[in-house]
Each structure stands twice: as C-alpha cells, then as structure tokens.
Amino acid sequence: MAFNSFVFAVFLPLVIGLYWLMRRSTVAQNWMLLVASYVFYGWWDWRFLTLLFASTLVDHAVAIKIHGSHADQTPAGAKRRRALLSLSLITNLGMLGFFKYFNFFAGSMAALLASVGIEADPFYLDIVLPVGISFYSFQTLSYTIDVYRGEMPPAKTFRDFALYVAFFPQLVAGPIERAVALVPQIERARRFDRLRFTDGLHLIFWGLFKKIYVADNLAPFVNATFANSNASGFEVLLGIYGFAFQIYCDFSGYSDVARGCSKLMGFELMRNFAFPYVSVNPSDFWRRGHISLSTWLRDYLYVPLGGNRHGTWKTYRNLSLTMLLGGLWHGATWMFVIWGAYQGLLLVVHRLATHGRAAAASVKEAATTPAVLLWRVARVVVMFQFVCIGWLFFRAESVSQAGSMLARLLTWSGSTDIGLVMPLLTFVGPLVLVEALLGLARREALYHVDRVPGILRAAAYGVLFYLTAFHGAASQSFIYFQF
C-alpha cells in the first residue's frame, strides 16, 4: 500500500479514526496499530509478512536474553551476549544478504572469475526483494545493538516491539527510527494534541505535493534524458538536476508523509531531511540529507570501526568504508557502490582540505554580512554540483552510461536549447519558493510562517493543492521502495 494510492486514502482515516476511538486503552491502540501495520505491509505481498515476523521474533527474544545476562559481568556472560548479538546480526543481515545481495555477489564472482579466464555458470535466485527489508533490518539491528550496549532496556512486551518494527508509517522507506526514541512512545499513552495533529496534516500534504507534483512530474523528463544516448551536455545537466530534485522530493516526500501520519497518532519520528541542497560541504550534506541513515551508519558502523579516534588515515579509511557500505545499502549494483565510494571520497577530500575541522566549519554560519552570505551561496552552488555528479552515478544504469553522460557534460557537446529549462522550472520552482521561505523563516511548515499573513498562507496552500490535485503526474512507485 503506497502513500499516494487510493487505498491508503481510505486506510489512513479509518486507522486514525479507530485509533482515537480507542484512546482509553494504549494496549488496544497498539494491537490495532500492529494489525493495521501488517495489513499495510501485506497489501504488497502477504508472504513477506513471515520475514517481518521472523525478524521481530528473533530480535525480541535475543534482546530479552541479552538484557537478562547484563548482570553477569564475567567473561562467560560477555561471550554469551556476543553470541546472542551475533544471532541477531546473522538473522537480519542473512535475510538482507539473501534477498538483496545473493544475485549481485554471484554475478560479480562469475565476472571476476571470467576476467581471469575461468568460465563459471553462476546460480541465480529467482526471488523478489521484499519491500522495505533494508529499512526494517537496520531498525531491528539498532534495537539489539542498543540493548547489547546497555543503552536501553528491551521493549516491555512482544506486541510493543512488533509494533516498533512494523509501525506502518515508516516501515517500508523510513525514517530508520531508533528503538530508544520510538519504543518509549509506543509504550506510553498518547494524548490528542491539536497542534501536533495539524502539523501532521501539513506534513502529509507537503509530502504528497513533493511526491506527486514534483517527483512524479520530473520522472518522465529525467527518464527521457537518461535514455537518450544523444542528449547534449546541456540536456544531461538538466537531466541530472531534474533527478536531484526528483529523488529528493520522492524520498523526503515519503518521509514527510510518514512523519505526518505518525503525528496524527501522537508519535514523533525523527526529521529525515533538512534542506540538503543548501549544504556547504559534504559533511554538512550528510547532516541534512537522509539523516536517519547517516546517523545510523555513524553510530553502528563508523564509530565501532574506530571513527576518528585512531589517527588520520584510519579516520579516512573508516569514512570511506562507511560510505561504501552506505552505497551498497541502497542497492545491489556496482553503480551504488561507486556512488558510495564517491561520497566517501568527497568526505575525505573535504576533511583533508579543512584539516579535520569539517564539523566546526559549517556550524559558524551565523554571520550575515553580504560577503559571508555571498561566500555561503557560492559554497552551496559548488556543493550542489558535487552532489549532482554523485546523482549521475546513482541514477545511471552502467559505468559506461555514466561515463558517456559525464563526457558530454564536461565537453558541453550538442545544442543548448534554453526552452528545456521550462519543465524544470515549472515543477521545481514552487518547491524552491516554499522551501526558501521556510528556510529563511526557520520553520518547517508553511502555516507556521507568522511573518506572512494568514490569508496569504491559506492562498499558498490553495495553489499548492491545485498543482498537486490537478497537475500531479500519474502515480509512480516511491524510488526508495527498491532499496
């Protein structure tokens, strides 16, 4: 069931209505949400519910056992906890590896053998990738690791933990919510809050605008550019810019709807995007874009690898490795690996250039003199170009396609038809206007921008509603479902 489907438009009000009717019993609410979440997920393919359930069962049992053994501080107790954690890791990563990476590694191995003259006939699995497996696997992993580290107790009941894993707003495409943030919200009673409810409605509306009006309308334009091997350098540039906004609106739109739905029920999910295209450097970009993944990778991969605690070169190694695996998380193709490596390279080069002062550099942006402002704008523009080069690798289907497009872009071959900018302006223009307003006002929702009179804000919602309802493209699947 996708957020931009008619079925969901019926499902959500029904669930919200039932949910607040049951407001006297948190237990009943949680049971109802759990059933609703399984219905939501099973709508794609009910068979994959067994995977979801198995993962939930294993991690629940493992977390309880680990927590129970925390009192035992002997080497045997530690060994037992490590074994239990390994069981969780093997289960989750095993499922992920089997469904997502088996064919990739089999094909890559065959190609490698072929390159040294050994012909191999690889065995491929005829399987479908379960929707959202990358998201919920990471989510459950974070839970067992946090319990293992003693950072949180296990969920009080299986029901509550199962709801944490399957919570329908963020089940299939995030945000990858940490158990330490969501489980307590599940366990305690939620009160109806009018402001939170209104914020939720806004986020759903804004998310759908981004998805239906911007992303889905840009999709044909982007697809045509990437399919056209004769596209000029200018067309390639516009195609990549188009994809930059398509993927941003597609994914951040989903996150907004997810957060909005959660707010309607009194839950708070983490903010997943904070204007990533106004980043001034690579580390700033990863603080603003896909925040739930970047912080997950930081806390469960980069830091355990040693982070920046073991010298310069190991820091660079850890950064590169983290981003490489982050790229692979997105999909089982070499293009995602290259994209991850490119992101790692950007981070390393930036760190080299700033002598490790990367984190501090982007924070002191408070000064607003014209020179500082201009410098900041220049850095944003330059960083956006670097991000877009990354998107070229992300979107291209092969290295040769990416290389060919990059060559045409750099040599600026072919014609420059300025009229091609129109679709980009038409679909991205309203988004940029609103986001610029939100950014300047430091607000997350248009109706919170107090400096604009209420009547104008209502009119702006009217225009955005018109564009979404009457100029929204035909419903397309969310890009991040494939991850």
């Binding site: 008619f6 209502a458 919602y461 009217g462 225009v463 018109y466 564009l467 009457f470």
Partner: protein
C-alpha cells in the same frame, strides 16, 4: 476566561477560519482559471465549458463561430475544423459529415477525429478532389438534424452528406420529441458573465474519476442505478428494444434523408458501431461490464440486451432507408474493431478507431465516385 472574552475568541476563530477557507478556495479557483488561460486561451472570467462551443438562433442549435473550449475549436462558420468558405471551391466535391459527439470528436487528439482523418486520407488517395466539413455537434439527435440540415448545412451546398446517427438517444427515459424543440442553453445568446460556476469543481470530477479505482466506480454506479430502478414498476425496464422508439428513429431518419436530398446532396448513411460487438468473447467480460455500467446510467430503462440491441435495430432501419431512398450505406458496424484500442468508451473513438473509420469511409466514397 469570562463569557464575553470566550465569545470574542470563538468569533475571531470563526472569522479567521472563514477567511482562510475563502482564500484557499479563491486560490484554487484562480489557479484553475489561470491554468485554462495559459493552456487554452480561456477567458479568466465568465463561463468556460463545452457549452460555449454552441449557440442557438431562432431555429437551431449551431456551432458558435470562433469558439474554443480546450482542444475543441470552431471555425468562423461555426464548424469544427479548418477555415473554409460558405460556398465550395470550384471543382472540389464538398462532403459534410453529420452526427453527434462521435463525429464532432471527443477523446481523439486534436485533428484526429474521423472527419479530419477522412480529409487527410482522401487527400492522400485523391489529392485536391474532396473537401470534408465536419458539421457534427455534440448531442445532435436525429430530431435536431432535420432543421440543422435545412439551416446550417444547406448554405454549404455539399454534394454529399455523411450521416452517422447515434441510436442511443432513443433509449433515454424521456423519448426524443417528434419534432425538434430548441432547448435552453446556459450560454446563449452570449456566455453568461457572473454566474459563479467553479471551474475547479469540474476539474475535480475528472481527477476523482482518474483516482478512484474503476471497480469502485462501477459498484457505486450500479448501486445508484439499482436504486433508480427499484423505485419503478417491474415493466419499466425494457427487456427488448422498444418498437415505438425504433419507429420514431425511422420516421426522423427518413425526414433527414429526404431533407438531405432536398438540398441537392447525396446522403451516405453510416451504420452505428460500438465496443460491445465482441460481447461474450473470452477476456472481454470485465471490460463490457464496466462499459455497460457506465452506459446504463444514462439509459436506466434499458436492460443490457437493449443497450446492445439498439444499434442493430437502428442499423436495420438505416439499411432499409438506404434501399428505399437509393441512398448508399456504409457499414460502420463491423468496420471498426470492437476493442479498447479503437474505442475510448462505449461508442467514441480513439485516434486509432477514428483512423479506421476514416479509411473505411474513404474507400466507400471513392467507390461511389464523383457525386
């Protein structure tokens, strides 16, 4: 909080929400109008609907010269298609094509309706010999055709008039009048200014049709139809094509044929076709059920067999009239494949369907030779 301050806060809340809702609705409507203006050159104020395409004089409903609604444009004579002169150019055989929305064009791309395609096909087969004028109008029933031939088609002095009548008019609950009665048009004599019709509402209906699953739409329609029928006696629903309606069709079409001959043109009668001819064929059940579900809304008295049967009965009449009046007949029925590639709905063509129809007619016209 005192009761008076509570009243004030409730009042200000009500006032604010009223203003916000008004601003929201205004913005949606203004967006719709600017959108129409940018896309179709529509006026920002005043009525803008398909009714603006037609006007009426003291006798008939005719196309409004120079009118445009979305993709539909009328020429300066009030006909859909390119500009032409009242009198035909010397040496060119002018053929008028008379019919309802199937002829005027509904779902086809601009310039792909079958009369326009017929012109292109004839130009390729017999360059410079024929001129096609699409004199069809949406909603033109056989009873409306009679005065229309006299007053709108006669001045064009066509050599031939192709007639593609829609028999389904005769399944409406209220039968067509024996003689044409001018209906009241919302947009005559000039578009009404100031009537608060929201264009966004019309657009919203289209969006709802697109978004709501077709199965649900069919179910809702069937429910509504069942309610309508339940309020009527059992014999209200026709189980067979009503002979009195067929007889009325015959009388009116006879008059049309005589009128066409009376203006000195040859009538070419075209039998009606639809997407239901493959009824019962494997894989068509759902498609046909949905089609009939939609069509039944307009003709609640007609059972499924009557809806399908009216075309056959009317086509028999056309063939008989053709024989009686020595008017050639072209077989539309069976001439266009009965599937969703050729029909966008029950009876209206897609681009491909219009093309097939045009090619069939072109062959028939060339077979008949110069008129």
């Amino acid at each position: 909080m005192t009761s008076s301050s509570l009243d004030r806060s409730v009042f200000s809340l009500l006032r604010d929400w009223t203003l916000w809702i008004a601003a929201f609705v205004f913005a949606v409507e203004a967006s719709a109008r600017i959108d129409d203006r940018l896309n179709w050159g529509a006026p920002l104020v005043g009525t803008y609907s398909n009714e603006t395409l037609v006007t009426r004089d003291s006798v008939i409903i005719r196309g409004r010269p120079g009118a445009q609604y979305e993709k539909w444009k009328m020429n300066s004579l009030g006909f859909r298609g390119p500009e032409t002169t009242v009198a035909p150019a010397p040496g060119i055989t002018r053929i008028a094509v008379l019919g309802a929305s199937e002829t005027f064009g509904l779902h086809e791309s601009e310039g792909r309706e079958y009369p326009a395609r017929l012109q292109q096909v004839l130009d390729s087969l017999a360059p410079g010999r024929y001129e096609i004028v699409n004199v069809g109008l949406p909603g033109m029933s056989p009873s409306a055709m009679l005065p229309y031939v006299e007053h709108a088609v006669r001045p064009l002095a066509p050599s031939m008039v192709i007639v593609y009548p829609s028999p389904s008019f005769f399944l409406e609950t209220v039968p067509p009048p024996e003689r044409f009665v001018l209906p009241r048009l919302r947009t005559t004599p000039e578009p009404v200014v100031g009537v608060p019709t929201l264009r966004s509402v019309a657009k919203a209906k289209n969006v709802i049709k697109r978004v709501v699953p077709s199965g649900l739409q069919v179910a809702v329609r069937e429910w509504g139809l069942a309610r309508t029928r339940a309020a009527q006696p059992a014999d209200w629903i026709w189980q067979q094509v009503p002979p009195d309606r067929v007889a009325l069709f015959e009388r009116q079409m006879r008059d049309v044929v005589v009128a066409i001959k009376g203006i000195g043109a040859t009538p070419l009668l075209v039998t009606h076709t639809n997407r239901m001819l493959t009824r019962g064929a494997p894989g068509t059940a759902l498609d046909h059920q949905q089609l009939l579900g939609v069509t039944a809304l307009y003709y609640p008295r007609a059972s499924e067999s009557v809806m399908v049967g009216i075309d056959s009965a009317a086509n028999d009449v056309l063939r008989r009239l053709g024989a009686e009046h020595e008017a050639p007949v072209a077989e539309g029925m069976g001439g266009v494949p009965s599937d969703s590639l050729h029909f966008a709905d029950y009876a209206h063509f897609t681009d491909r369907g219009a093309d097939t129809m045009a090619r069939m007619l072109a062959q028939r016209i060339l077979t008949l030779g110069p008129q």
